[in-house]
Symmetry: none
Subunit: 209 residues, 4 copies
DNA sequence: TATGAATGAGGTTTCATTCAT
DNA sequence: TATGAATGAAACCTCATTCAT
């Protein structure tokens, strides 16, 4: 006690801590039980606050839900961004990116559920998240093209590509990694196969005469 | 009365009708209000049955949810299958398939929600649905390969491809068609762009010396 | 049990009984604790039903409050009407009416509170009640005039009179009877004094030269 | 700073200002939303104080309510008193008094609600208010009698009269002015009709042989 | 087989009051 | 003296499920 000093939080710091605590608790609870079972009671209990306190930080349960995915989404994006830093070329970015995505979701299974249920609970939040994501993809693709690492794409091809890439990460994780229970070796195979298809497509072999 | 006959449904027929009625009502209500707001009351009201009657056909609300997506999913699959019948080659199948998928979801916006929320409400049902779908894709791919319309794929490439295709349909519809409000022209462009990427990939152009 | 027969209520009878039971319980609870403390829990507990059952008979708490005063008001009006039946003339009607009103409120102290708080809780209900009452007064006054028991009144005088009469009953009860704790003798004096003022007014005596 | 002086309120002055500010805010909030919706939060917010500060000036919410009506009631009484000053005779006092009462309530609709709901929230406050009022009436009547402007009244007649007058103001305002939406002309008619009834009563005309 | 009244747990939200700052 | 974050007890309402008819 005499030693302390550090442990005591000033008023505004405490407020920040509570807010963050509620976000974390919400992420945990929604990730584990789904939005519809994420009651205020469960959330506040988990971070040691009273139910009423919740309303000092959020207008309503919906208000929290509207902010949840964008908040946790940034974290995921940051994780993946960091992982792809220093890649050799565009296809290396995709390889590392998909791999890091698998990693992140494996470690944060909750994020998975937050993401997938968000669409029905808060379309707005979902839209924001996907826009954040799309912006990221766009930047990467533009640079890749500038450096002639990928072929020229029409505008619509580029838009389509962005969502194909997003969808791929999602579906590959859900169906092959999570449901398929893929170990590291298998995950690497998956990643390689994906990059191979992405690079070459699946058109028939050119028979050079 | 004893004479009657035509108009009156026999016992098992009536039971079947009720069961089907409940499914349809559930599809409508879940599609419109989401699983969590699909109360037994709303569902039974919509098909003119009493609340209690529900439990003669389903063990519980969950039991219904576990059966709902596979049931309505078959319809969607049938719709798409029919649309691709008579295609020229594999890429024509993909073209028509994606187009038909867009059509179906545009006409049956309810299906959309049943599908996307299903994952959190009944993972089992979702798994079944995606398995049905994967089987379909597999058959098509095998035949395409047999007829040399696509290049040779490793086993893992084939698995990856299947889920990339599924994810693409999902994400393209959600983000470009639905959210983007694409008209028919734009939808055709999207479909073409997708098939083009699928066929050729996005690797850099080969510069022939 | 073998004897029974009478005790068992048929379905629709029971529904009626429940509805009436809720009304009575509500009248009691509101009369005793006021509208704002008349929780659904208290009301249903008092008539031995579950909280949820309440909503089979009323859309909401407000819905009940919107119906409460008119319902109990009719009872009061009927009580007073019966008491004035067979009066000698108009002033006898007023005398007996006021007396009966005092009686009714003394026996049903709850009514008092239901009436006075109703204005802020359900203006609609209050309006309905006062309209019912005004109609009653009007009829009595018209007949009194037809039989030349009161002097000719202008239209606005008649309107004013009606509300003066209503207000008098209210204020005399509240201030002299209830608060003043009047016994029967005193109550009779009050009634007589009121009728005397009503009949003669308070203008200065005519000094006949 | 040390120099200052004028603008800064001394300690007790500031306390007084806060107290008065809370009263005013409470009058506004109760008048607009009713007692049951007059939360401490709303009241303090309106006068720019913190919630906790409330408890430096009042023991509890109830404590405030117990003082509110008498406080604002004085203002109304003062308004009416001023308006009747200089009247010709007693009936002129009643005429001007009723008229001023209508005026005051029309301008201060909030007072209306404070008054009518007060009975259930704080019977004590209500009693005090009506006693203040009754004293006023008594004085006026005594002088009127002394000057032979009204006929002789028994003690009980006088008591009854006081509450009939009070009830009349209340009911006429509520039902004919407020609900009836009376304009100035109509209001004057109402006032005149009331005074006429008050003066002459409604007994049948004397037919002088 | 079919009904629908009845249940009661559980959810979100409000708010008077306290207390460390 | 003044603050406002924190509390936690209700309150209203919904709904899956049961069961007597």
């Amino acid at each position: 006690m005499a030693v302390a000093g550090k442990r005591k939080l000033r008023r505004p710091e405490k407020a920040d801590a509570n807010r963050k605590g509620l976000f974390q608790a919400a992420a945990y609870v929604v990730g584990k039980h789904g939005y519809s079972n994420a009651s205020i009671g469960r959330i506040t209990e988990r971070c040691g606050l009273a139910q009423g306190t919740f309303y000092l930080y959020f207008d309503s349960r919906q208000d929290l839900f509207d902010q949840l995915l964008p908040a946790v989404g940034e974290e995921m994006i940051a994780y993946v961004s960091k992982a792809v830093h220093g890649s050799r070329d565009y296809f290396d970015v995709e390889r590392r990116g998909l791999s890091a995505f698998f990693d992140y979701l494996t470690k944060n299974t909750g994020f998975f559920r937050i993401l997938y249920e968000s669409d029905s609970v808060s379309p707005e939040a979902t839209r924001t998240h996907y826009e954040n994501l799309a912006r990221k993809y766009l930047k990467v693709l533009e640079r890749a093209r500038a450096e002639h690492q990928i072929r020229a794409l029409t505008d619509v091809e580029r838009d389509v590509l962005i969502y194909v890439l997003m969808g791929a990460r999602d579906y590959l994780y859900r169906n092959l990694v999570l449901r398929g229970g893929a170990d590291e070796t298998r995950r690497n195979e998956i990643v390689d196969a994906f990059v191979s298809i992405l690079r070459k497509g699946i058109g028939p072999e050119q028979t050079t005469p």
